[in-house]
């Protein structure tokens, strides 16, 4: 996958590029807004990671320009600005996701993966499968090996999000943002408790667990 990184802090840029390359991506980098914009418009990318404050051309303007030129590459904003209204501004300017600095690399990687996944259209799915776990999005019913699983509405949304990103690392923040629509970190890790509840419902009594904890990163649902 081709990724464009526009980041003016060279140390952070080097770290980002190296990390992404190690994860098997092809990466181009730019250190200012103008260079970044011309790169974004001249080559196809699967994801662009854009810092919010850039020399010569502000990150918001870079993305706005990209959108004006009909470029729909998913954009992940990185921002070191204070957060109360910055996220909204970033998303309004055409960004697809927003990550506040400082961030953990696993968080960034999980979000980049999610953005790429979003890009490849899979059509309207009415059913999600992971191994022998099925989720019917229309009747809102879950089954594992044919056995019905009772889920609370929020548990259903949590499972749905995990299954939509099956095989991908999903961080606690991503879950909090997508399933609960909260953009803050609760003092205690409440997500872990929700996950262990869900795990008790879908994995208990089955030999092969589906819901895995990825140490230092988050969670992943996969068949093996």
């Amino acid at each position: 996958m081709r990724i464009l990184v526009i980041e003016d802090d060279l140390e952070a840029q080097r770290y980002l590029v190296q990390g992404l390359k190690e994860s098997g991506h092809v990466v181009d980098e730019a250190a200012d807004g103008e260079t970044g914009l011309s790169l974004a418009l001249s080559r196809p990318y699967d994801v662009a990671i854009v810092d919010r404050m850039l020399p010569r051309l502000d990150g918001l303007k870079v993305v706005a320009e990209m959108r004006e030129h009909g470029n729909s590459t998913p954009v992940l904003f990185l921002s070191a600005l204070s957060e109360v209204d910055d996220r909204v501004k970033g998303l309004k300017a055409g960004g697809d996701d927003y990550l506040a600095k400082p961030y953990a690399f696993v968080e960034l990687l999980a979000r980049v993966d999610a953005l790429m996944r979003r890009r490849s259209p899979v059509g309207v799915k009415t059913r999600l499968d992971v191994g022998d776990l099925e989720l019917d999005l229309l009747s809102r019913a879950a089954k594992r090996s044919g056995t019905d699983i009772e889920l609370q509405p929020r548990e259903f949304r949590l499972l749905e999000y995990l299954m939509r990103h099956a095989g991908q690392v999903v961080t606690r923040t991503m879950l909090l943002e997508s399933v609960w629509e909260y953009h803050f970190d609760p003092q205690t890790n409440v997500i872990d408790v929700h996950i262990s509840r869900l795990r008790a419902k879908i994995d208990k009594g089955f030999e092969a667990p589906l819901l895995h904890t990825v140490r230092g990163a988050g969670y992943m649902i996969r068949a093996h």
Partner: protein
Amino acid sequence: MRTKPGLLQTQAFRIVLVYVLLFAFSVTALLFFTYWNTRRTLDRQTDQIIEAEITGLGEEYRHFGLPGLVETLRSRSLHQGQALYLLVDGLHHYVAGNMDIWPQISRSTPGSMVEFDYERPVNGKMEARRARGRVLAVPGDFALMVAQDVHDRYLTERMFTTTLPWTVLLILVLGAAGGGLMSRNMLRRLDAINRTSGDIIAGDLTRRVPLTGAGDEFDALSDNLNRMLDRIERLMKGMRQVTDSVAHDLRTPLNRLRNRLEESAARLNASGALKSEMMAGEIERAIAETDQLIATFNALLLIAETDAGTARAAMSPLDLREVAADVAELYEPLAEENKVSLAVLPAPPAGVEGNRSLIAQALANLVDNAIKYTPAGGQVRIRTALTEDGVDLSVSDTGPGIPVSDRPRVVERFVRLEASRNSPGTGLGLSLVAAVAHYHNAELVLEDNMPSGLKAVLRFPKSAMRAVPGVPLKSAAE
């Protein structure tokens, strides 16, 4: 928030009212003076004519005696004019003159001018008229009345006295109406300034007072205010830039530090040596510490922003019950794990204007604290309540509570009570709640929960209350 002054309370209206009263008084005084002066002049003229008549008649009497006087009176009475005469005998019987009946005045008051009513035919009809004259005693117990008809003067005078109160009333009414209009106009201009100031107080520094282009004092004032606002906005922007760069300059090195640590941890894990394993653990701890630092820093920034009111977080009408239900849902499993019962008590709709994310975060902090400090088997209750002053959103627990003397202190930044020194947390939880409350013009109040524990209340004022979609606005006072 101060209430808008009523029309009667405005300075403009008061000034106009005083002016109108003064004006009405002056006009009345002036008119009275003119009236009095005119009447005096007219009376003096009438009196002179009467005196002349009397002198003439006296001459006649002196030369020709009573018959001469009667003769003269008869000849003068032939043509009816302004002059009136009546000569009566001791029994008030008519002797001569152009009046028939002695008027309702005493005949024994000779010398001074008197005014009286009499009747005379006008166009075949008897008409009551006004006259002014003098009574003279004529030897032989006769009495002579020499008078002038002053009915026209009397009518004018009457008209004057009846119209004057109306005139004054009209002046007062017109004056008050004019004053009202003027002060309303002034009020409107002032209102524009007040509204702009209100918006600016609420945090929107881009607002400016509109100019009418009339070039009057108000425009001058507005222009000055606008220039002042420009200056303040520049200063504020400068300050924001400082905060932004503080954020940037602090977060960037923190980020780098974290990157480097993660990198080394990964490298050490890969090499797999026993000694490196220990080092990896060390580094992971350092990462956890850094994360804590970041959390603290984020909270601090959020507090600073919400406290200063510089953040323009999107405000919308929301039902506090929904926020409470969402947060309770998020924390319910954690409460269960801690063997604490968590519930939202049923309540009527509680609509306020607010930022969902900020209020949810504040409530999450309160619930988090409550669960943390409540022993197993305890209860945490979230409740919304309409009060006479607004809406309360409260979290009560059955934990140890906070001593009254410590309550003001725990809201301060970084203060953690001795008893909780060893539990995790940034020490910013309650100050963040207080900042969010402040941002919403609300108040964070810590109370005793009966019979034991702490009750933290977010007290939203009445002005923050809103009707939420599908739910009518109601308050306890109604």
